[in-house]
């Protein structure tokens, strides 16, 4: 029973990080109909930002610098790699996204070498807490709480504010929204900013637990989080949350029962089953193809 609780806690913590990244996928896909393959690598670069800013400044400022730098990176990627392809066929945009991912990975290998770099320990986060018979670190407990608070804030932003309204409008109908005077580019940039910001938060929580960053540490979590977004229904924020937790918990359970070679494959099996049974995901809206 204790062992089970221990694993469940780890699973929920990993799931929280996944949920934060999955939201980035879901928001971008909702608006641009694009799998942002580079999102996982933005998450990885955020890890490096933290390492380097932590080395030269006190940790509260380092965290803020990391968040801002990652957000700027997300907006820049959109401006340079996706904005020029607004009218292009979807395959071109997707290849562009893969290209950005390829570029970020190679750039990281070039600048920081392929060897894993130690992630700084933020004071207090690794403190061990003992509840009953379970011992865990503070970050494990903190992750799901941070995730849920951020998602609540995001839901408020999307549903109650003006910029949220324009985001919803653009995702519903791109052309009609621009005819109604919504500034498309601004809205899209804002979406990327939020996605990257959440990825940066996720990255701090995830890497504090993992302790090392290397150039490819973003690619697999990135794909898993995309699966989480599809599972919950792409375009839906609560869906991404549920999907993230589901994938995180299942993965931890599979590792716990000794099938770790299959833990990555499992994620993709979930994806394929979901796409076959209910392509719109748990909370997704039905999409009707028009001629």
């Amino acid at each position: 029973m204790n062992l089970f609780l221990q694993h469940a806690l780890t699973g929920i913590s990993v799931g929280g990080c996944y949920a934060l990244i999955a939201i980035g996928y879901t928001l971008v896909y909702g608006i641009l109909r694009l799998i942002n393959f580079a999102h996982g690598d933005i998450f990885m670069v955020a890890g490096y930002f933290m390492i380097f800013s932590f080395a030269v400044m006190p940790f509260p400022i380092a965290i803020i610098v990391t968040l801002i730098a990652t957000t700027v990176l997300g907006i820049m990627i959109e401006k340079f790699a996706y904005a020029p392809l607004r009218q292009a066929p979807r395959m071109s945009v997707m290849i562009s996204a893969i290209g950005v991912s390829y570029l970020l990975q190679n750039l990281a290998t070039y600048l920081f070498t392929a060897l894993p770099k130690a992630y700084p320990a933020i004071p207090g986060l690794k403190k061990v807490i003992v509840i009953g018979n379970i011992s865990t670190s503070l970050v494990t407990l903190l992750t799901p709480i941070v995730t849920i608070v951020l998602v609540a804030l995001l839901l408020f932003l999307v549903n109650k504010t003006k910029i949220g309204l324009s985001m919803r409008a653009v995702s519903r109908d791109y052309e009609a929204a621009s005819l109604m005077g919504i500034k498309l580019n601004q809205t899209i940039s804002f979406t990327f900013a939020i996605g990257s910001l959440l990825a940066a938060v996720g990255s701090i929580l995830y890497f504090t637990d993992r302790m090392t960053v290397f150039p490819f540490s973003g690619s697999l979590p990135g794909l898993k989080c995309f699966v989480a977004a599809v599972f919950g229904g792409i375009g839906s924020i609560p869906g991404a949350l549920v999907g993230g937790f589901f994938i995180g918990i299942c993965e931890t359970i599979i590792k716990a029962i000794g099938l770790s070679t299959f833990s990555d494959a499992f994620t993709f099996i979930v994806l394929i089953i979901m796409l076959l049974i209910r392509p719109t995901g748990l909370f997704g809206e039905k999409n009707i193809d028009k001629v």
Binding site: L85, R90, M91, L223, L275, L276
Partner: protein, 364 residues
């Protein structure tokens, strides 16, 4: 009159291609005779040939049928492992499977290399046919991520402890017989490429293009959408499997890490640079990228000019250059270097030609 003209043109092209083949064979024979001197050049050529096969097979499904599939690495793994298991000399098998032993049924299973390559292609093709039934219903980006998922699943299964006696799990396979000469590699690749070109230019190939241009219109003229997609997927995977077998022979040792997503991206780089939907583009692209990666190797070494070390030059720099090149092509030459066009000698000889309708369209 027009028809006659057309025939003349094809003849010129055919003759020129034959000439290229003859010249290549001559060069290869020369290189083979001076094997020790040109070892490096031979290995670049062999690698390019293998990549040309895989890139063209990816182009069939992605460029000509408009199905964005990212499962290449997985199908290559199937082909590579099948070829490797069936061709490793029986004498060296205990040495390869020293950790877990080999499945008794496979202990003495050995077939000639061409048969092993074809079987590798068949395994990949059969697998593609099976997964194609459910996943080819998916649209563009979902299809991409689902094929990518399958590729990862294949890799996980190959590396899993349950497959130890067949694939040697995470230890990988070694002692795979290599190419006896570069001509052998050239012959296998040439056969694959010619068959693929014949398929692309057949009526089946025209069905593929029709599906790419407009699925609804294609259905309206009586093309069975599912059958066409499935056929394209299976044909592509078959040749990808053979390409994987050739890669195994080129590398002489493989493990599941060889077939990561990065391998698919490397092939995608070739297809995109060469031009999505261009046969010659894929082939030229394969040579360009593979040779380029080798020639730019000096970028990865520290460069010292006049006693000052230029800080840009360190490991990883050439891959950054290639990534930037990919981004430039994607953003500014959206159709790749050759677009949907083919490199043709008629054009070089300034024979006027009507604009080709074969450009890839925006199939979402």
């Amino acid at each position: 009159m027009n028809k006659l003209n057309f025939k003349e043109k094809t003849n010129i092209n055919l003759l020129m291609y034959l000439a290229i083949i003859v010249v290549s064979v001559t060069i290869l024979i020369f290189l083979d005779m001076n094997k020790f001197q040109y070892n490096y050049v031979i290995s670049i050529i062999e690698k390019s040939l293998v990549y040309a096969v895989v890139a063209l097979s990816m182009n069939i499904v992605t460029g000509f049928t408009g199905l964005f599939s990212l499962g290449q690495a997985g199908f290559m793994a199937l082909g590579a492992y099948t070829t490797a298991i069936l061709t490793i000399p029986i004498a060296s098998r205990p040495n390869v499977y020293y950790m877990n032993g080999i499945l008794p049924a496979l202990e003495n299973a050995i077939v000639p290399i061409p048969v092993a390559l074809i079987l590798g292609g068949v395994v990949a093709g059969v697998f593609a046919a099976l997964i194609g039934i459910p996943i080819l219903r998916l649209k563009s980006d979902y299809l991409a991520i689902a094929t990518l998922g399958f590729s990862e699943i294949i890799r996980a299964v190959i590396a899993s402890p349950m497959m130890d006696k067949i694939t040697n799990g995470s230890y990988g396979l070694k002692s795979i017989p290599g190419f006896k000469s570069s001509l052998e590699c050239f012959a296998y690749s040439l056969i694959c490429i010619v068959i693929m070109i014949l398929i692309i230019n057949s009526s089946t190939g025209r069905d593929f293009k029709a599906v790419r241009e407009d699925e609804i219109a294609a259905r309206a003229v009586g093309i069975n959408l599912f059958k066409t997609k499935e056929l394209s997927f299976v044909v592509s995977s078959f040749f990808t499997g053979i390409g994987g077998g050739l890669l195994a022979m080129f590398m002489r040792s493989i493990d599941s890490k060889t077939f990561q997503i990065t391998l698919t991206y490397d092939i995608l780089l070739i297809v995109v640079l060469g031009g999505i939907g261009s046969i010659t583009g894929s082939i030229v692209g394969a040579f360009f990228v593979t040779a380029g990666k080798e020639l730019l190797r000096f970028f990865d070494e520290p460069l010292i000019i006049g006693g000052v070390q230029i800080p840009l030059f360190k490991p990883g720099f050439r891959m950054v250059i290639f990534s930037i090149l990919l981004m430039i092509v994607v953003l500014f030459f959206r159709k790749g270097l050759l677009g949907g066009k083919e490199l043709s000698f008629n054009k070089l000889m300034k024979v006027r030609r009507k604009k080709n309708l074969d450009e890839p369209g925006g199939n979402a």
